[in-house]
Structures are given as C-alpha cells and as structure tokens.
C-alpha cells in the first residue's frame, strides 16, 4: 500500500507578517516557516495507517510526503521524514516572480501536486483540509478532480473496511457542524482532506532527524504556470476595531449619553 501526503509550508503562527508594497502578498524575507497544521494531522493519520496496515497483515505501507515550493520547503519535508515518512517528493518552484507559489492560484498548485501524485500511483492521497495562511480549502478537492479520484473532506479518522478484500475500501469519520460526525465508506484509491484534531500529533525526535538524512528526497521540476482564473486583489492585516470608552457622570447622564451613542454612532436604536 502506498499513501501520498501533500503538505504545505506556511508562516509560523507567531510570525510577524508584513504586506509587500504592492499590497497583494506578504513579505517572505523575515518569516519563519512551519508545516501547515491540518497537513501535520494528515501526515499523522498516514503514519498511523501505515502502522495499522502492518498490524492488519496488509503488508508494508509506504508513506510518501509531497510538497511544492522553493528550496525552503525541504525543511518541512525533512520534518515529515523525521516523523516517519519514508521518502519525499519536492516540486521545485522559483523563490519569487514568474512560476513562484505567490503567482500560482490553487488550481495551478493542485495541478503541480496531482502531476507528482500520478507518477506514484498511490492507493490513498491525504492532505490538510485547508492551509493556515490562505485558507482557500481548494487544493485537496481540486487535486481529487484532476486525478479522477473519489474524495471525502473534513476527515477526522480513517480505518480499513470491507470483508475479505480488507484494504480495498476505507471507512472515514467526517466532522459535521455542532459536534455531529458522519461515517462514510470510500473505495480505494481515494483522496481525503484531513481536519485538525482527529489524532494526537507526535513529537519530532533526534533519531528521526538523524535517520531522515538517509531518506530519499527527490526533486521534480514544476510545470510552467497556467493562466490564473482568480486574482488576489489585496492583502491586509486585520483591523483592530475594539474600542472602549468609559461614560462618566450621574446615572441619568450616563444613560442619556449611552442612548445618544447607540442611536447616532452605532445606529442600533
């Protein structure tokens, strides 16, 4: 069994982000990077499936981790190898300008990843539900479409299903609104987008990092970008809107002031 996990490298949650002068992307020069959190859960699910496949007598499963981006994404791929992935595929894109990630839309990135997946012929493709930076939630489902695979989204857990031909079908638990979950059976091969929090992530270990150095990291060249169908118009930091003003005076005065504000400034009365 082979599982491909597509991961994205995103700015760390604590990173201080600055918007570029053109106002359409963020300045990447001083940013610390990390693995997109839902992708980390996708990787964890893949690693646990690998273990469960071995326990269920389905043979040795291989976990291949895949990412598209410039040189820097190799640190995230290494982290995945350290946590237990068997090998890595890196679709190399330029740091900036023509063909860089910033210039490519979700569709284009999904194309890059789908192309790499095709070469592997995996039974299962996992990726995060969405990215922590752009949050479009498109890449996974578009990839499924491009690969002609059935897919399920918002998946928390995966198990092997079906009798006899164990492993030909999987049963997944999907998260619905308000604490509801749904179980769906999906035939393999399939693509799943994974929701955060379904598993407990593992910590990186020294042995993992040292072993990762000997694992294969194959670089693939990226296809030239296609015409974007969407366009980023503006990126802006969240505006701070919370303001507190203390009204003073006697109770009657305060009440009068409050009514005035609510009527003319907030316009809710």
């Amino acid at each position: 069994m082979k599982i491909v996990v597509a991961v994205k490298q995103v700015p760390e949650r604590e990173a201080v982000l600055r918007v570029t002068p053109d106002g359409r992307s963020i300045d990447e020069s001083d940013v610390a990077w990390t693995m997109n959190e839902p992708d980390a859960y996708a990787l964890e699910e893949a690693l646990q499936l690998k273990q469960r496949a071995a326990e269920a007598g389905l043979g040795e499963a291989e976990v291949v981790v895949l990412s598209a981006g410039p040189e820097r994404v190799q640190s995230t791929l290494r982290e995945a190898l350290a946590k237990g992935a068997d090998r890595a595929l890196h679709v190399v894109t330029p740091e900036s300008g023509e063909g860089s990630l910033a210039e490519r839309g979700s569709l284009d990135v999904a194309r890059l990843l789908a192309e790499a997946v095709k070469g592997e012929q995996p039974e299962l493709v996992l990726t995060g539900l969405q990215s922590d930076d752009l949050g479009a939630g498109q890449t996974g489902v578009v990839m499924a479409e491009l690969l002609g695979l059935p897919h399920a989204t918002l998946v928390l857990q995966v198990e092997f299903a079906g009798q006899g031909g164990v492993g030909r079908r999987i049963k997944v638990r999907r998260e619905l609104e308000d604490g509801w979950t749904q179980f769906v059976e999906v035939p393999l091969p399939a693509l799943l987008t994974i929701q955060s929090g379904g598993n407990r992530l593992r910590y990186a270990t020294l042995m993992g990092i040292k072993r990762a150095r000997q694992k294969e990291m194959r670089e693939l060249s990226a296809a030239t970008p296609t015409q974007r169908v969407d366009e980023v118009v503006k990126v802006s930091p969240p505006l701070r809107l919370k303001q507190t003003e203390m009204l003073t005076g006697a109770a009657e005065e305060i009440a009068a002031k409050l009514v005035e504000r609510l009527r003319f400034e907030v316009k809710v009365l």
Binding site: Y203, T205, L206, M207, I209
Partner: protein, 655 residues
C-alpha cells in the same frame, strides 16, 4: 570519651602493651599459609575479573577531563580521607563508619606485618620504638573499630532503618569478620608471647583476613576498593549530561551506551539508601527508587556484560533490573538530592536523564502531557503553549524597555515570567527593585524557552534548537549580562547551553539583590515584615550552590526562619525535571508534603526564589493551607514591598 582522648589514653599505656608473637612457623605451615594466600588472592581475582571487564569494557567517557586536579584532590581528601560527607549527612552512623574506615587505614601496616610474620619476617620491628608505638596505636583503633562495627551491626540488624533495605546476610558476615579481626588483634595484646594461644590467635586473625578478601568483589563491600576512585573520578559538574555524538547515540538505550564512569559508579554503590531516603518521588510513593536504579544498572551489567545490545528498559525485567523502568525514569523531579547525598560518588541524574534521553530521542516515550509540552515548545517556543503576542502585551503593559545594547542588564523573563500570572508579578516586582536601584535593563523582543523541560525530559533535538535560538538572540541583541528570576533558566543557560556555545554571563535575582543589599536597605521604608521561611529551590541550591544570597535578601525584609530540611537538604517542590507539565502525580503530591513542612515553622510568609516552586506552593496552599494559610511571596516581592511607593510608581521604567 572522644576518639582522640581514647587514643591518648591508650598510647599512654604503650609500655605495658606487647603484641604476642606466635612461635615461628614450620615449613609445612609456611607452605600452607602461602597456599591459602594464593587461594584467597586467586578467588578475589576470579570474582573481581568480570567486574573489571564490565567497567573497562564499557564505553569510554569521551568528555571526562581530569583537570583541574586540585579540585579532585581536595574532594578526595575531604570526602574519602576525612569522610566528611558520610559523617555530615548521617551523624552517628557516619562517625561509626569513619572510625572503621580510619581503623582500616591504620591497620594496613599491621596487616602487612602480620602476613610477613608468617614467613618469619618482622617488618614493623615491633621491639623498636616505632613498632611499639604502632602496635599500641593500632590497638586503640582496634577498640574503636570494634565498638563502631558493633554499633553498626546493632543498627542494621536491631534498629533496621528502612533505607538499608532488606536485611543482608552478607553485611552481617562482613561485620562479624571485622569484629573478629579486631578481637583477635586485641587478644594478641594480652596473651603471653609464643604461647599456643598466641599461635591460635595469629592463625584466626590471618584466616579471617584471607576470608575477607574474596568476599569483597561482587558485594557492596566492593566500595572499599572502588569508591575512593569513584569519588576522585566523578564528573565535575552536578547533573552533568554528556554530549550525544555521531548518528547512533541517543542516550541510554542499550548496554552499548553505558560508559565506564556509569559502570564504575554502579559497582561502587554501597546500598546505604541515602539517595532513596531523600528522594521526593520515593517519599511520596512513586515507583522511582534511585538506589534500585543504580543497582539495576549493576544487575544489567552482571547479566549481559558490557557493550550489550539488550535494551536497558525491558518489558518484563527480572530481579533488580525491575527498577529500571520508564515510569521510574519519568517520575524523577531531577531535584538532585540523590546525587548530592551519595557518599561514594554515584551520580544518579546522568543515568535517570540518560534513560529519558534514550526513550524520548528514539520516540519510545509516549505520554499525552509530554507530547503536548514538546509540541508547544516546537510550535509556540514556550512551555505553557501561549502565543508570543501574550508576552508582547505583558511587556507593553509593564512598560519594560526593550534591550537595545545600551542597558547594563538583559532581564530574562522565562516562560513563567512571560506567561504565568504569578510569574509575571514576580518579574514585575523585580523590575521595580532594579528600577529603584537605578540599574538599567531591557528585555528581549522575542524570547523562546531556555529549554529546561526539554533538557530534563531528554528531548535533545528540541533542547538543541532552543539553545541555538537563545544563543543567537543574545548575540544579535549584544547582551553582556543577564539576570533572571528563574533558577531553571539560570542553570540551563549557564551550564547546559555550553554544548552549543557560550552564553553571556547570567545571575539569579537573589545574587543581584544581595550584592545591592546595602543600597536597598537605605531605600527601604516602613517596618520589617514578620517571619519568613525560605525554601531553597533545587536548581539554585544543589545545582548552583547559591544558599546565602537569597537568605541575605530575606533577612532585609523580615525575620529568616529555617525549615527542618534546608540548604543542601532542601526538599523538592515537585516541579522540576519537566514534571510541572506532566499532569497530576499518582499518589501523594510532593508539593503538599513540602508545603506542610514549611508551614510547620509557623512563619507568616513562605519566601520562594523560583517561579516554579511558587506555583507549586500556590496550588498546594489551596489544598493543605487550612483556614489561615501563610503568605506566599518571591524574595523580589519581599523587597519590593518595602520600597517607597514613589520609587515604584514613577512611571516610565529607566531604559
């Protein structure tokens, strides 16, 4: 009568004392004696050789430096020759042990002479002035040793303190042999020369001696031979962890990872149980027993020999090796009482933390809380899992200036000082003390955890990343001097970071305030507060030997009271070794015991010098503090409360 007085008394009698000589031995007897001596030595070598192989065959300690020899020499003199630690930590039995030890040294000459005599050679020239003196001198020691060993025998077999473990037959035999050696010697002083009685006594004395020798290897009495070496060769620093080299070192995973020093220390263990007696985990019913851990290493080496591939932590270990378990290793608060107490130079922390390193660096340790802590450190860079923006807000609210190279000190906040509500109060109060003194300081714009919990829990990957990051941020900011309220950060930055580079000079706020005591006292206003019981944090006391400065600070603010266990013997609060993050302990809580002990002093205030201790006592007081719990304050808060209000509220802090 004191030992010295007794000695003088006996030496005064020397004219009346003569050691009875046996009639000289015939050829047959001499051959028999030679055969017995060879047999004894042979048996000793036969029993000792596997031990020597286990020690020498273990991995070489690549980081062991003998220099500076002066410090090692002094420790040898003080701890071995003077038996200072043995006596100091267990007064009466310690003194009894010292008497036996000194008696053995005094007897060395007598013993050599005794054997030489069998072959008709009186090396000591007993008829001469020196010989006569020495016979009497040894006689005095024989009396003292006989008394002492009888006392130790009574303690072990009648009083039976629980720390000594199960009654050991071997100890009884050894005690009887020692007593017999002394009794036969003393008897030889009173029987007539060349009498049959003298011959009988001589043979009895000699046979006991020859029986004693082969018993030594393979028993805890091996400490007679090994512990002087062990004390001399000890790693120079407290809780010193070795650097992991190459691609195959992850800590203590198999026998291949045990070093010569670890093996030597394991075979030196005298099973006195001081380590376990003082262990906070053992005292509160946890599975950890530091003595059995050391004996577990010895049992492992006995079963598998050196360099074995067998895992140190096994699923179903047998016998003494049972004590080597993952739950035991992770129950340690790394308070270091065991290592401090050990009279024969065993260093428990590198073993306990070594086992953790082996388990964590290979991913074998699975713990919900531990994983959460590591992920917080990986992703948020602090142990409390908070967003860095929270620290920014705190800094802004306190109006702490950012360190820009122009200030004298960099005030290191640490995770507790940055994110914990009480830790923040401590930092804020200390900042006010610095401000009142007119000392310029700034804080780093961004700070990651110094790596203490990662280091103590054995996560070398994470610790290395945090140390490198920390070193880089100090270098970039141009920091020369650091001051911190947290002893864990202090120890980690000052000692553990050395594996990755040289950190700027760092000191604890107690040292800083004690140095400025004179000025602070001039600034202080109002009445002295009431009584304050000071709790020594493990990482400031045993780890750094800082005992006086915090006491000097407490004395400025109130009347210093000591808890029953203080200074080197201070009892842990339960937070160390990353345990503050590992969820509620099974069984009794270490912090509750210590809090009760501090409350028993009747002091109005508990004075702490570590934000972790403070946090543990804060929770414990809620449980065991009763209706009127004592106040709980950091020493910086004690000082800040006595500074005049205008010094505290003068707005902008000095940059």
């Amino acid at each position: 009568m004191t030992a010295a007085g007794m000695l003088v008394g006996i030496v005064g009698l020397r004219l009346n004392l003569r050691l009875a000589e046996p009639a000289s031995l015939g050829l047959g007897a001499r051959v028999l004696l030679a055969a017995l001596m060879l047999g004894s030595a042979g048996l000793f070598a036969w029993r000792g050789a596997p031990i020597a192989r286990a020690i020498w065959g273990s991995k070489k300690d690549t980081d062991l430096r003998l220099r500076p020899l002066g410090r090692r020499g002094w420790r040898f003199f003080w701890e071995v020759l003077c038996q200072a630690k043995v006596i100091r930590q267990r007064r009466l039995p310690g003194l009894a042990h010292a008497l036996v030890y000194w008696g053995f040294l005094a007897f060395a000459l007598v013993t050599i002479n005794d054997l030489a005599e069998g072959f008709g050679c009186d090396l000591l020239a007993r008829a001469g002035a020196f010989g006569a003196f020495y016979v009497a001198f040894a006689g005095a020691w024989a009396l003292l040793v006989a008394f002492a060993i009888a006392g130790l025998f009574a303690r072990r077999f009648l009083a039976r303190p629980k720390w000594l473990g199960e009654v050991s037959l071997e100890s009884g035999v050894i005690a009887l042999l020692i007593f017999a050696l002394m009794a036969t010697y003393l008897a030889m002083l009173v029987v007539p020369q060349r009498s049959p009685a003298a011959a009988c006594l001589w043979w009895a004395h000699t046979l006991v001696l020859l029986a004693f020798l082969p018993i030594i290897p393979g028993t805890k009495h091996l400490h007679l031979l090994l512990s002087p070496l062990t004390v001399f060769l000890k790693r120079p620093e407290f809780s010193q962890l070795s650097k992991l080299e190459g691609d195959e070192e992850f800590g203590l995973v198999t026998g291949k990872d045990l070093t010569r020093i670890i093996a030597l220390q394991a075979y030196s263990c005298v099973e006195c149980g001081r380590c376990t007696e003082h262990c906070p985990a053992a005292a509160t019913g946890k599975v950890l027993n530091p003595k059995e851990v050391v004996l577990g290493v010895k049992a492992y080496l006995n079963s598998y020999g050196p360099g074995s591939d067998a895992p140190l932590l096994q699923d179903e270990p047998e016998g003494r090796q049972k004590a080597l378990s993952m739950p035991a290793a992770f129950a340690c608060t790394t308070c270091g009482s065991c290592e401090y107490q050990c009279p024969v130079g065993v260093q428990h922390l590198p073993v306990l933390i070594g086992l953790r390193r082996g388990a964590v660096n290979t991913g074998a340790w699975e713990d919900r809380y531990g994983t959460k802590l590591f992920l917080s450190l990986e992703r948020q860079g602090n142990s409390l899992g908070m967003g860095a923006a929270e620290r920014d807000k705190f800094i802004a609210k306190q109006r702490f200036p950012l360190f820009d190279g122009s200030q004298e000190y960099c005030l290191w906040l640490g995770c507790m000082g940055s994110y914990d509500p009480k830790g923040r109060e401590i930092v804020a109060d200390f900042a006010r003390v610095m401000q009142a003194l007119g000392t310029s300081f700034g804080v780093l714009k961004k700070e990651s955890c110094a790596g203490d919990p990662a280091r103590r829990l054995g996560n070398d990957l994470l610790f290395g990343e945090l140390a490198e990051q920390g070193l880089k941020s100090f270098a970039q900011a141009g920091v020369k001097k650091i001051v911190t309220v947290c002893p864990h950060c202090l120890r980690t930055i000052a000692s553990d970071w050395r594996e990755y580079g040289v950190a700027p000079e760092i000191e604890h706020h107690s040292e800083f305030m004690a140095r400025h005591a004179a000025l602070l006292e001039r600034l202080m206003v109002g009445e002295q507060g009431g009584s304050v019981v000071y709790h020594d944090p493990c990482y400031l006391g045993r780890y750094r030997e800082v005992y006086e400065p915090p006491r000097a600070v407490v004395a400025m603010a109130g009347e210093l009271v000591e808890a029953e266990r203080h200074r080197e013997r201070s009892f842990c609060c339960g937070a160390g070794g990353g345990l503050a993050f590992l969820g509620e302990e099974a069984g009794d809580r270490v912090s509750h015991g210590r809090t009760r002990e501090l409350m028993e002093t009747g002091a109005k205030t508990i004075g702490t010098a570590c934000p972790f201790c403070n946090s543990m006592f804060r929770d414990a007081l809620g449980e065991v503090g009763g209706a009127a719990p004592p106040q709980l304050l950091d020493i910086a808060q004690l000082v800040a409360r006595r500074l005049p209000a205008q010094a505290l509220d003068s707005g902008e802090l000095k940059g």
